[in-house]
Subunit: 126 residues, 2 copies
DNA sequence: CAGGCTAGGTTTCCGATAGGAACCAGCAGG
DNA sequence: CCTGCTGGTTCCTATCGGAAACCTAGCCTG
């Protein structure tokens, strides 16, 4: 695995690093998870993802679109309808995303618990 | 998979969401990948991870420590030596991290390429 | 016909954060 | 005494994040 090959994510200007920075973003993971079930509308994502603002959703979707992970379909209807769906490239990312999501679901409260337990055991000092 | 269960990451105040936001960070993924091989020193991480600054490294490590993913060993030697290693909880995260890293390595230039291809086919304008 | 509705998006404003450069501590060696 | 090594922190600024208001455009309602 993470052999120090030339395509390694430890190099600052490597495509792998770019890819990591693309998805290692507060909203990206959640948005991709939301899209993993098929085409979803902007409004549906807003409803689905608690705490996201329209601005951040649009921004995240635009970035994913620019990087070829999702595709945008704007129907010239009224009221306007816009659907987003994963591209083939984006679909390959769903597996890792789901692993991450399942880890988060499984260990979420272990992490939360650590935040409580951590406060240093004792600094009995002098 | 991502069933709309109660522990789902789509809820804003869910532990799962907290966990996702913990690791969905620019440096966290790379740092954890760097620690996946065993205990590593602060300085080694600086050398290993291209583009990271001391400040961001320390900050990232502190956060991971506070959330129970890594442990910090400060040896009272001179010059000071500090090693970081994964906790048991942190070790469970390595698998998803590696999947992400391998995806990044495999698809890094596809993403990079999409950035080039994307520029809209034509805006023939007026 | 005027006003309001819907749905997606953009703009504005402001507080929070990221990030680099510079500085600090403590001791060994020349 | 001055320099260097190692880990960490402080200062300062550019950028980001988020709430809310505004915009477009067509339809429906009164």
């Amino acid at each position: 695995m993470s052999g120090s090959g030339p395509g390694d994510l430890f190099l600052a200007d490597c495509p792998a690093r770019l890819a990591v920075e693309l998805i290692a973003d507060k909203w990206t993971v959640v948005v991709l998870a939301g899209l993993s079930k098929g085409p979803v509308r902007h409004g549906e994502l807003i409803e689905l993802i608690g705490g996201i603002s329209r601005k951040m959703l649009t921004q995240t979707l635009r970035r994913l679109e620019a990087h070829g992970l999702i595709r945008r379909h704007a129907y010239a209807e009224v009221p306007p309808r816009v659907e987003y769906e994963l591209t083939a490239l984006g679909a390959t990312l769903i597996e890792p995303i789901h692993m991450l999501a399942e880890w988060a679901r499984a260990n979420g409260d272990a992490v939360l618990d650590a935040l409580d337990t951590d406060p240093e055991p004792v600094a009995h000092n002098d």
